[in-house]
């Protein structure tokens, strides 16, 4: 009897998360549907202006996506090479002791509240970069992009290291036995063998960067602009949602519904990325079992 109650309780908890997810998707879908009754989908994906809060309303999401893409790209350019180098160092070179200290310390980076990174980008990194590039605006995508790269760095390094560490030892030995150096072994055998795990870590990091809100909201600006110039203010999709939902836009207006359309777009992008990583995992797993 008691067992039954516990079982039902556990099931209820599991269902609760599923229903929450379904509920969120339903709200996104309904509100987006209402949005697209007033704005053509074609305009939404092709128009190069995003001005729903002005009198001359334009609803092209490209400027927001370019802001998101640009900051994400900068973050990935920082996090992937450095993260991979750290992962290779930790799994192939570092003595056990160094590894047991360095790995947890890196993971602390992920525990820093993102608002701290955002603040740091705005008041330290941007002024510092301005001393090198005088043309840099006070708000820009470079500085929050760099900070975001630091933020997702442990995600790449830690998960890639796990993937490298999971490669069977006899594969490494096979390479050494042929006279390969440590670096040749790491680069030509271990990284390809751990490819799926590394790719998944990169995709997760990209998803995290796309959805990141606080850093870009604080330091990238609020000017939707279709550009790939990292020196000027931009607005990311997430920043726009923050701007509208914390502002005084009346509910049940078209301006209000824009945030659901933007949210839906973000959801679709991360969903696609998740599926890619799921597919990669399945495709490459179990090769050595």
């Amino acid at each position: 009897m008691k067992e039954k109650i516990i079982e039902k309780l556990l099931l209820f908890c599991a269902l609760l998360t599923i229903f929450t997810t379904l509920g969120i998707i339903a709200v996104l879908l309904i509100q987006s549907f209402n949005f697209f009754k007033e704005v053509s989908f074609f305009d939404f994906v092709t128009d190069t202006e995003w001005t729903p809060l002005f009198s001359n309303k334009r609803y092209g999401i490209l400027p927001l996506l370019s802001g998101t893409l640009l900051t994400t790209l900068i973050a990935v350019l920082v996090a992937v090479p450095i993260g991979l180098i750290i992962a290779i160092y930790l799994s192939e070179y570092a003595p056990k002791k160094v590894r047991s200290i360095l790995k947890p310390s890196l993971e602390i980076l992920a525990a820093v509240p993102t608002v701290v990174y955002g603040y740091f980008a705005l008041v330290y990194v941007t002024p510092f970069l301005q001393s090198i590039f005088p043309s840099l605006s006070g708000f820009n995508s470079l500085s929050p992009g760099l900070m975001m790269g630091i933020m997702i760095l442990p995600l790449v390094s830690s998960l890639s290291e796990d993937a490298l560490y999971a490669v069977p030892k006899f594969l490494k030995e096979g390479s050494f036995a042929l006279g390969a150096t440590r670096f040749q072994t790491a680069w030509k055998v271990m990284v390809p063998a751990a490819f799926s795990g590394i790719a998944v870590s990169v995709i997760l990091a990209i998803s995290r960067a796309i959805g990141e809100t606080m850093i870009v909201a604080i330091a990238a600006g609020q000017q939707p602009r279709l550009t790939f110039n990292p020196f000027v203010p931009v607005e990311t999709a997430t920043t726009y949602i923050v701007q509208v939902s914390s502002g005084d836009v009346p509910h049940d207006s078209i301006e209000y519904r824009t945030i659901f359309a933007v949210g839906m777009s973000l959801f679709v992008i991360t969903l696609i990325l998740n599926n890619i990583s799921f597919w990669l995992k399945r495709k490459y797993q179990a090769t050595y079992s």
């Binding site: 594969l171 096979g174 050494f176 042929l178 006279g179």
Partner: protein, 249 residues
């Protein structure tokens, strides 16, 4: 003598796993290392290409000479040394690459870039490993597409491609079916004319079929080392007798 071990003692931390082992091996012979699990035969094998260097806290005393040179000498370049000594592992361990790239790997990491030389060497090594006929039409396919026995012959081809003079084999047939296992044995017999081979095995029939000399290890000691025929038909030590007749181990 091609290989000489002189008073070799080996430790993992505080544990002594090899106790004062001396052994000489002639060129172009096959030597089988037999004994129960944990007797130190694999550890002994891995001393010859310094594979045990990878273990933190391991320590060697004594000397190991190859062609008269102490391979644990400070001036020895380990990567250069390993090029002259091929190794085949217990489980087939092809790299996540194509069949061709697996065999070419050893040459490429050793700085060979001439495509013709590599191509020729790949073909020759695969022929030596009796795999060429089976894979010549699918060299660009992943090595994982091969069966376990084929993968193991691929690993042998990979080892041969760098032109070693010694082949170390650590239970090369233990993960294979009987037919693949026989193929590996035939291969060992053919390779004997050009390589000095050391093979660790649990299978006593395999040891008696493939080797010229057999060394019996027990608890880190070299109990007996003799011509294979003598060791299997007329062992001098009682422990050897008990092991080969299946009374323990």
């Amino acid at each position: 003598m091609k290989i000489e071990a002189k008073n070799v003692k080996f430790f993992y931390g505080q544990d002594q796993v090899l106790k004062d082992i001396s052994m000489s091996i002639k060129k172009n012979t096959v030597t089988a290392l037999i004994g129960p699990s944990g007797c130190g035969k694999s550890t002994f094998l891995r001393l010859f290409n310094r594979m045990n260097d990878l273990i933190e806290g391991a320590r060697l005393e004594g000397e190991i000479l190859i062609d008269g040179v102490d391979i644990y000498n400070k001036n020895i370049n380990v990567n250069e040394l390993r090029k002259t000594i091929g190794m085949v592992f217990q489980k087939p361990n092809p790299f996540p690459k194509t069949i061709y790239e697996n065999v070419a790997y050893g040459l490429k990491v050793n700085g060979v870039s001439d495509k013709n030389i590599i191509e020729e060497s790949v073909e020759q090594s695969l022929k030596q490993a009796a795999l060429w006929e089976e894979v010549k039409d699918k060299l660009k396919k992943s090595a994982f597409a091969l069966s376990g026995g084929q993968q193991q012959r691929l690993c042998i081809a990979r080892a041969l491609a760098v032109k070693p003079s010694i082949l170390l084999m650590d239970e090369p047939a233990s993960a294979l079916d009987p037919i693949s296992s026989i193929k590996i044995e035939e291969l060992i017999y053919q390779l004997k004319s050009s390589y000095t081979i050391l093979i660790v095995t649990h299978n006593m029939q395999q040891a008696s079929r493939t080797s010229d000399k057999t060394a019996f290890f027990y608890m880190g000691e070299l109990v007996e080392f003799d011509d294979t025929r003598t060791l299997f038909t007329n062992p001098k030590k009682e422990r050897t007798q008990n092991y080969i007749t299946g009374r323990f181990g």
